[in-house]
Symmetry: C2
Subunit: 315 residues, 2 copies
């Protein structure tokens, strides 16, 4: 029950913050993965300290958020003694929105750098085929006020965004993705068979690849096209996660961040935002006015909530 | 003398790798800063372990590379015991090319994440004025073969690139920079008075800002427009540097990296490169055939090497 609560909180927070690609849409797959035996709802992961600051975690096929929270609790405690602690996690399921973890740590007065790998969906800069995960990075920094949290995939957009455009029969910008032959395409259906572009060209490619190598090595996870189980319901998940938690001084950064917020916007912009501002405003609004949920997702929720039999049919 | 050798190696390696903006061009300013008393060639920095894994360094106005190497030596040693160690450095001068440090650590079998701040040259996404440093990040990963090293500023290009275009009276792409009024410009001379764009739009902005906050807080350095001494010859340098050194397993990543290198290039590309490949090829070529140096820079070298009295007194 506690595990279900953690898993659901991550998904619900994504809905509240306006990131439906990491929201309830994923619940169905989580349930299917449990039913298929590739996710174990009871596991919290086996924690093994290789040294006083380096933790390795065998996730024992546990739910991503459950294993991650157990690892982060250990890291937070250890960082208070050592100043810094790192965990490499594998054999654990999809984490959902990385920013949720970053906010959890930063709100508690510590710094975090969080990185994950995923199935290969992104092409190297100048290449045609997907060889690198969407490899998100989140950084949390405590401040006197609300913590600073940034969270971004290293692809231009998520594959979910491509699917959404395909679903709505809307074209995509040419720099988002390539088709199965590795040619830039504006057709979302062709892009689904191809690869996402790294964000920011060669620079974003370098960052995404660095995360692939760092996480794979430190977590003992699969690499590149060998990664499975982040998109399907049937394969054991072998991606990796790395968390670095730092216990350091926490100066007041609010004046600086407010200077950015109050600076004059460029033409075409209404205001200058600090990462996290939009999500926070969205969260406040939705808590008051409700959360729009896509019909298909809602129908699946109803089926899931009707209980096991209905669920089983879909496994 | 040993300090001069370290400082020069960083600059010469930048020349060999085809990054003249971080090469001998900077030597003149280093000498001027020594003569002006804002850089101390003798200092190696005061190292203070706040806990077993967290090092703070007061650079004592030392040369950036000298202080950084002293800190990294301590971190490498400590990471072997603790698994991970972090340093926050301030009151130290410009590091030069961050990738040099990443390669040093990764070649020695450890992982590194290196981040620095600089004077505010980059505008927040959707804003008009420079409020954030060019804040480079370098990541080094050991492999069985040559280590993987990525090193990138979080601006689209360096201000050096803008100056170079202005000097050659060549226009710049409209997405590189804004003018003093915050409007996109193709005139390099106008861009010099304005601000650089973050790379990759909102995502690169988020990363650059995260580095600004993380480094400023952990190093106890100045923030945003308060940063001085990375571009001038007269002010004490108050930017910050953060190094995270990790001692972990080191699997063989060469097969994966070679798969990327041998993948079919996209239209308009001759080959698919892994970050560091171009620099390595350039280095090999220049070691054999020599290094082209801009006339102006060479003339300054000759003046410096003639051993102006002023210079000799201080080395």
């Amino acid at each position: 029950m506690a595990h279900a609560a953690i898993q659901l909180e991550v998904l619900l927070e994504a809905e509240l913050r306006g990131v439906p690609s990491h929201g309830l849409l994923r619940l169905d797959r989580v349930v299917q993965r449990i039913l298929n035996g590739v996710a174990d709802p009871h596991a919290t992961g086996r924690l093994n300290w290789l040294s006083s600051g380096f933790l390795t975690v065998d996730g024992e096929k546990g739910l991503g958020p459950v294993v991650a929270v157990a690892a982060l609790d250990a890291l937070q405690h250890r960082a208070r003694e050592v100043g810094v602690a790192i965990a490499g996690i594998t054999n654990s399921n999809h984490l959902g929105m990385l920013g949720w973890y970053a906010e959890r740590i930063a709100a508690n007065g510590q710094y975090i750098i969080a990185m994950s790998t995923s199935e290969a969906l992104v092409h190297p800069w100048g290449a045609r085929k997907a060889l690198i995960g969407t490899n998100p990075i989140a950084i949390g920094v405590p401040t006197e006020g609300r913590p600073f949290v940034m969270d971004t995939a290293t692809s231009v957009v998520s594959m979910g965004e491509i699917h959404d455009h395909a679903h709505r029969q809307v074209s995509i910008p040419a720099h988002w993705a390539v088709d199965a032959e590795g040619k830039p395409t504006t057709d979302a259906n062709e892009a689904k068979k191809g690869a996402l572009a790294p964000f920011g060209g060669a620079k974003g490619y370098a960052l995404g690849l660095a995360i692939e190598l760092l996480v794979t090595s430190l977590a003992g996870a699969a690499i590149g096209t060998g990664v499975r189980g982040t998109l399907d319901a049937t394969e054991v998940c072998n991606k990796g996660d790395v968390f670095i938690v730092i216990d350091g001084p926490s100066p007041n950064l609010t004046a600086y961040l407010d200077m950015i917020r109050h600076s004059e916007p460029a033409e075409g912009f209404e205001s200058v935002l600090v990462p996290g501002d939009r999500a926070r405003a969205c969260r406040a609004h939705r808590l008051e006015h409700g959360v729009p949920v896509a019909d298909e997702v809602w129908q699946r929720m109803l089926v899931l909530s009707e209980g096991g039999m209905a669920v089983k049919q879909h496994t």
